[in-house]
């Protein structure tokens, strides 16, 4: 760095740059949340059942093995599109029959969900499946 470039100038770039880009980020986020998400996030499908389903999803730490819209752990299949891939009945049956107990295979715990809770969870997965994800994942396998 040349001697003409002082610490004061570097500090001004830091404060000015940080402030400008933070405000820009907040502005873009306001546009996203207020103007764009209502058309994309499938909020019309949200109801009490979906809310209960999301809680079941959370308190059993499903994200600790699975991904949801590509985020989470990478140990078990993507579930953002599982509703389309498997359908509601298969999902419920699959969860009920865990763990498979097949030696050496990855095991999913049995979470002892009631039929009503299973319906709630499926409602949540159906809702997520309806989010506009810009055509991700590339194919049905997730």
């Amino acid at each position: 760095m040349s001697s003409g470039f002082t610490k004061g100038m570097a500090r001004n770039i830091f404060y000015g740059g940080a402030m400008f880009f933070f405000l820009l980020f907040v502005g873009l986020s306001v546009d996203t949340v207020v103007n764009r998400l209502p058309d994309r996030d499938n909020r019309a499908a949200i109801n009490d059942q979906v809310a209960r389903g999301k809680e079941i999803w959370e308190v059993n730490n499903c994200i600790g093995c699975h991904t949801l819209l590509g985020e989470g752990a990478y140990f078990a299949p993507e579930l953002g599109n599982v509703y389309a891939r498997r359908g509601p009945e298969f999902i419920k049956m699959w969860i009920k029959m865990q763990p498979t107990g097949t030696p050496g295979r990855r095991q999913m715990p049995n979470f002892h969900l009631t039929d009503e809770e299973l319906d709630d969870l499926v409602a949540f997965l159906k809702y997520v499946n309806g989010v506009d994800t810009a055509n991700w994942p590339p194919n049905i396998e997730g």
Partner: protein
């Protein structure tokens, strides 16, 4: 050590190293579960092991940052810490709360833990990295506020340097953005959108400020380069961090329901996120080359230079690899992400904490540097852990590329589980690399127990190698 109260850092660093060890053990358990799926099932299911692995990482890094803050701020402010007693009290609160949380994860079904800890009052659990029970989250906020109060009071009555200012902006940012972890709407897109305000704005934002300040502090000490020069670099680095990284958040908004302009914005800005990391590398090497003194703590200098390089590789290069939206369309949520995550966290944050520990621990133990033997062992641990992490990253990248090919690119895509079966060779190699990492970590811990005559500048020269036998 210039001020007695700086020694409160010591328990923080010891706890950090202990939790780091725990993190690696659970990492190895998971590495084996990737291959032998039912290993330790049902005692420790994968999701529990992963939660312990990632939460221990976060907590030990927080311990490391806090220890660094308690050491750095008094020295920069040229006065004793405002309240050493508060620092010690908060240490025990944080350690006990953290330990109870981990015990809770391991001894109770997660749903039962949620029920016992009031998740029904305000549900915040069950989201990646933010799995902590509500009371733990509240505890983190309280500890962070007490810590920030203590440091802020110290600075207000003392010398205000650019390093302490950048450190404090980073630490305040850490506390403020954590508050978004309490926002958890049913709307999954909003949930994810603001979840990243914790996760991304931490690791690709304010944590880089903390990292830069820690690195600058150690470089001034070990190189003796003029503070004006180092602080000028620091400002430029953190300026580029935020100029690129804030809008760079957009690279997480490609496929979660956010509008598609984030694909352009996120790609362009996050493609520039390697710049500040590259600057850190240049910074570290440049300062060491221009050093005005020889410091007997050679291993601290090694860690400082290593941090620059590995942060650039892990966060910069491996981040860039999958940050452009047309590429990320295929890589999103695969082992490529895991590869990047491992090297970025190690290279940037684990290593900068170890840089700080390496520089300060000998001082807190009453010597300028450890014995030559202790330093040599620590250097071995540096190389073992760092090379192991390079291998882990390469093998996971290999696994990721094959996974993408079989599951996403192929005209006849395989299912997720069928694909996983094809990746086993990479998972075996990753596990072996993990064992190498553990060996490095054990050597690292052992180096603290090697005493002997403290190294001096003279004992580094071959002529006066008296310390080598110590």
């Amino acid at each position: 050590m210039k001020y007695q109260s700086q020694s409160v850092s010591k328990p923080y660093f010891i706890a950090a190293i202990g939790l780091f060890f725990g993190q690696i053990i659970f990492g190895l358990i998971m590495g084996l579960q990737y291959i032998i799926g039912d290993f330790l099932f049902p005692e420790i299911p994968f999701n529990i092991a992963r939660m312990v692995h990632t939460n221990l990482l976060i907590v030990w890094l927080l311990f490391g940052f806090m220890g660094a803050g308690y050491y750095l701020i008094p020295e920069e402010s040229e006065r004793e810490l405002h309240s050493p007693k508060l620092a010690i009290a908060l240490f025990w609160i944080f350690l006990i709360a953290g330990a109870l949380t981990i015990v809770g994860y391991l001894s109770l079904p997660y749903a039962r833990l949620a029920e016992l800890t009031g998740n029904n009052l305000l549900s915040t659990m069950g989201r990646e990295f933010l799995e902590q029970p509500l009371i733990t989250k509240v505890g983190i906020v309280i500890v962070a506020l007490g810590f920030l109060y203590n440091l802020s009071m110290t600075i207000l009555g003392g010398r205000k340097t650019s390093i302490s200012l950048v450190m404090m902006i980073g630490l305040w940012g850490l506390a403020i953005f954590f508050l978004f972890s309490f926002y958890n709407p049913t709307n999954i897109v909003l949930d994810k959108y603001f979840w990243w305000w914790v996760v991304h704005l931490w690791v690709e934002g304010v944590w880089e400020l903390i990292m830069g300040a820690m690195l600058a502090f150690v470089l001034i000490k070990v190189t003796g380069v003029d503070r004006e020069v180092i602080e000028k670099w620091l400002y430029l680095i953190v300026a580029f961090t935020l100029i690129t990284g804030l809008i760079g958040t957009g690279h997480h908004y490609f496929w979660i329901g956010a509008p598609e302009y984030w694909q352009t914005l996120g790609s362009v800005f996050s493609a520039m996120e390697p710049i500040p990391f590259f600057m850190m590398t240049i910074f570290a090497f440049n300062m060491v080359n221009r050093r005005r003194r020889e410091h007997p703590n050679r291993v601290a200098t090694l860690w400082a230079m290593g941090t620059g390089v590995m942060a650039f590789l892990g966060a910069g290069v491996w981040g860039f690899l999958h940050t452009l939206s047309p590429v990320n369309y295929y890589t999103h949520g695969t082992q490529v992400t895991a590869a990047h995550g491992h090297m970025a966290f190690y290279g940037a944050y684990a290593m900068v904490v170890m840089t700080m520990i390496s520089y300060t621990m000998p001082l807190m133990r009453g010597r300028e540097a450890n014995s030559n033997l202790s330093q040599v062992v620590e250097m071995w641990s540096f190389w073992l852990m760092t090379i192991a992490m390079v291998f882990i990253t390469l093998f996971l990248t290999g696994a990721g590329i094959l996974q993408i090919w079989l599951q996403r690119v192929s005209e006849t895509p395989m299912s997720f589980m069928a694909t996983q079966d094809q990746l086993m060779i990479f998972y075996w190699l990753r596990l072996a690399s993990g064992l190498m990492f553990l060996a490095g970590l054990l050597l690292y811990i052992a180096s603290f127990f090697i005493n002997g005559e403290p190294a001096t500048v003279e004992s580094r020269n071959p002529v006066g190698a008296r310390g080598a036998a110590a």
